[in-house]
């Protein structure tokens, strides 16, 4: 029997949903190229990229087709070779229509300067500034879901000192296994990616945080890092939302990012393992971010899978490859069950931030009966930010933005723990989102 010491975790709130990692044992398989890829130009936080191709142009795989507008933005590359088709607004996973470039796929003709071999390149030749420039060039964004441009995170504001790089291998969302599989199948590349990030940031300490339900990944990294100094692996308690940036910083470093502040304020920068792998590809292989691992899962899915998918592939292709859409499907979610977005259309393209496609059966798809608030306090107990969700709901409902702001409504990370635990099934997070929108609108006026 193993000795049980207390695993680290974050301090406030959190919930323990059933983790349902049914696709954890399924190796990553590349999905065949679709006939058409539809690539949105706004896949990231920040300004949409500016389109630099025209209908009818021939493009190669990896060729840039839209450039970043300003610093907080990201380049977009062709994820397949072929002819540019229509450029029009399509519905993406957010439920809104955004401009997207479609490519009618012909063959798979990559740009010449991209290294497509599997050889591990360990030597990091580039200087810190060149690394950041390369990451920006390759259009790398946070792949945990938020899709924040990675080069922005790496450009630490002047006057702030970063001493720790934290690698997020937590994957706290139930069902999702994309990061888990990547850690098992590409650990050496991820470690080189970590070294690249450490060099870019000028830090000598990195910690990989992995939740205890991925024991194989923890042991693998411990083995590979035995001789390394400066990179540590930390097994964390299974506790949602540990993959939240602020929660991970608290769990690993016991530091709190000040309200309204940035991780760099407490000397930490957090990158997801998927992002770290993409950074390895960008810096060592000159390969832009045009594909990612997507988990396709759900209780009734025939073959729960982890696919390597080109950006812009329609969701329906992934579903067919996983054995089709089960009869009892009531809801399809892009992302995990706690923070993912329900999609209404199966043609929605996979984007840089799409970590999974979850099929929820009909009997779990709708919300249950709502009761009066019992004042049980479970939402407060669950809030990882120490907020009072029931109270924020009331203030948002009344439109009392001033009070809501004083109660730190803007600190809400929208993890959904409050709505998850509410015994009365009250739509707490829905109202908190409404309240946050009200405040943002007032700011604009």
């Amino acid at each position: 029997m193993k000795l049980h010491h207390k695993l680290k975790t974050f301090k406030l709130g959190g919930v323990h949903p059933d983790d349902q990692k049914i696709s954890a044992g399924v190796a990553i398989t590349p999905l065949p190229l679709p006939k058409v890829v539809t690539i949105p130009v706004a896949q990231h936080i920040g300004a949409p990229a500016k389109i630099i191709v025209q209908r009818g142009d021939m493009v190669k795989t990896g060729q840039i087709i839209a450039t970043h507008e300003g610093f907080v933005s990201s380049n977009i590359h062709a994820s397949a070779s072929g002819r540019i088709g229509v450029i029009e607004e399509v519905m993406d996973s957010s439920g809104f229509k955004h401009t997207a470039i479609s490519i009618r796929v012909k063959g798979d003709d990559w740009q010449e300067n991209i290294d497509l071999t599997e050889t591990l390149v360990e030597e990091i030749k580039l200087e810190p500034k060149e690394i950041v420039a390369r990451i920006m060039e390759a259009g790398v964004v946070g792949m945990g879901g938020a899709a924040f441009p990675s080069h922005v995170k790496l450009s630490v504001p002047e006057g702030k000192h970063v001493d720790h790089l934290l690698i997020n291998g937590v994957e706290c969302e139930p069902y999702l296994t994309a990061d888990h599989r990547l850690m098992l199948e590409r650990p050496k590349e991820i470690i080189v990616g970590i070294k690249i990030l450490m060099k870019a940031l000028g830090v000598d300490k990195a910690i990989i945080g992995i939740e205890d339900n991925k024991q194989d990944a923890i042991e693998l990294f411990q083995e590979l890092l035995k001789t390394e100094t400066g990179i540590a692996v930390e097994a964390l308690e299974v506790h949602y939302p540990q993959g939240g940036e602020k929660q991970l910083i608290q769990a690993l470093l016991n530091r709190e990012v000040p309200s309204g502040g940035l991780p760099a304020d407490v000397g930490a920068i957090v990158h997801n393992v998927g992002t770290t792998y993409a950074i390895y590809q960008a810096v060592q292989k000159n390969k832009p971010l045009i594909e990612r691992v997507v988990t396709v899962t759900g209780k009734s899915v025939k073959q729960p899978s982890n696919f390597l998918v080109r950006i812009g592939t329609p969701v329906i292709d992934l579903l067919i490859a996983a054995g089709g859409v089960p009869e009892d499907t009531g809801k399809i979610v892009s992302g995990g069950p706690m923070m993912g977005k329900a999609i209404a259309d199966l043609d929605v393209p996979v984007a840089k931030g799409t970590s999974g496609i979850l099929l929820i059966p009909k009997d779990e798809a709708s919300r249950a009966e709502v009761y009066n608030c019992l004042h049980c306090g479970k939402c407060i107990e669950a809030c990882p930010m120490g907020l009072e969700p029931y109270h924020l709901l009331l203030m948002s409902k009344k439109g009392n933005s001033q009070r809501a702001k004083e109660e730190h409504i803007l600190d809400c990370i929208e993890c959904g723990s409050c709505s998850f635990v509410c015994p009365s099934n009250r739509p707490i997070l829905d109202y908190i989102r409404l309240g946050k929108t009200q405040i943002r609108k007032q700011k604009k006026v």
């Binding site: 000040p258 009531g330 809801k331 407060i380 009072e388 998850f420």
Partner: protein, 333 residues
């Protein structure tokens, strides 16, 4: 498949299994040991009083929701059953049916529905009913059947240990002498004492507490803070003068302390939200209970203490906030 058939709603897309009906069922389940013990101790009278009380509470809530408020009957969540059971737990097991009816009407009608039903009442409905009955029918509410007098609705009555203690101290008898005439602490713990229907057996109530903690229906904060406060406070007085004050163990095992700590004070609706608030709330109940018991004119004070602290809940909620992530100093307003 047609995409038009998909449900679209904001996250989260999964929900905990512990919803209102499950919680209410859990609480009812947690009360069963105490009820069974009561039936064993007082016979069929206990079942009769509990059954009537539950029946009246549910019927009154149904009638008010349906015919006075013109809304869907809210009885299916199970909260009226709990109020009925708790009201019964707080009265003698030989209470006549018309008094139970009045108690139920006050508990549900005034205590709960007049504020808008489940979740909106500031005071514990069962205690509102209980205190109303205590003030209106003092004789019937304080003549407890002797324990062990099974299968009879007209049992011989006796005073509670707390009542005997209060009278005895008033007449100047030392506590030791009074206690020597009472059952042992072990008997108190298992419930061989006179008292209200559901309050005698600390053992049965603790079983209920353990179950509710295990199911994560309640947290430890209110019961522990209330019981610790009572032990510490009565302990101090006992150390000062053991001839005039009974030991902490006596106070812990007699009267409504256990019932109050496990089922009455932990009522979600009428207790604070935060763990800090819960600790303050339990502390306040403990202090008030001891003050009433030792210095008030009533022998027992748990019901009053809980009702008084119920009134402070909004204030406690305002000041006893949880620590916030990333907020160092909360400005005082």
């Amino acid at each position: 498949m047609s995409a038009g058939l998909l449900t679209v709603s904001p996250s989260p897309h999964i929900h905990t299994e512990l919803t209102v009906p499950q919680i209410m069922r859990g609480v009812i389940f947690a009360m069963i040991p105490a009820l069974l013990f009561s039936i064993y101790n007082f016979g069929i009278g206990a079942l009769y009083v509990t059954g009537l009380s539950v029946l009246f509470c549910v019927a009154i809530e149904y009638a008010i929701a349906r015919y006075l408020l013109n809304r869907a009957a809210s009885i299916y969540d199970g909260s009226a059953i709990i109020t009925g059971m708790l009201l019964a737990f707080n009265v003698p097991s030989n209470l006549p049916w018309h008094i139970i009816l009045i108690g139920s009407a006050v508990a549900i009608g005034i205590g709960k529905m007049s504020f808008g039903g489940l979740g909106n009442n500031p005071f514990n409905p069962a205690l509102v009913g209980r205190v109303f009955l205590l003030l209106s029918f003092p004789v019937q509410m304080t003549s407890w059947p002797v324990q062990g007098a099974t299968f009879s609705l007209d049992a011989v009555t006796s005073a509670t240990p707390l009542g005997i203690l209060k009278e005895g101290i008033r007449s100047g008898t030392p506590v030791d002498t009074l206690l020597s005439e009472m059952p042992s602490y072990t008997d108190f713990f298992f419930g061989l004492q006179a008292g209200s229907l559901g309050e005698m057996s600390a053992f049965a109530l603790l079983l209920g507490l353990i179950y509710m903690l295990y199911r994560k229906i309640i947290t430890w904060h209110i019961p522990v803070s209330m019981l610790v406060t009572i032990v510490v406070m009565t302990g101090i007085f006992w150390l000062i003068d053991p001839t005039r004050y009974a030991s902490p163990l006596f106070h812990l095992l007699t009267g409504g302390v256990m019932l109050g700590a496990v089922f009455m004070a932990t009522d979600y609706v009428t207790s604070p939200f935060t763990h800090r608030g819960m600790l303050i709330f339990g502390f306040g109940i403990g202090v008030l209970t001891v003050l009433i018991r030792l210095f008030g004119s009533y022998p027992e004070g748990v019901s009053f203490a809980i009702l008084i602290m119920n009134a402070f809940v909004p204030m406690i909620n305002k000041f006893a906030k949880e620590p916030r992530y990333g907020v160092v100093k909360e400005k005082r307003k």
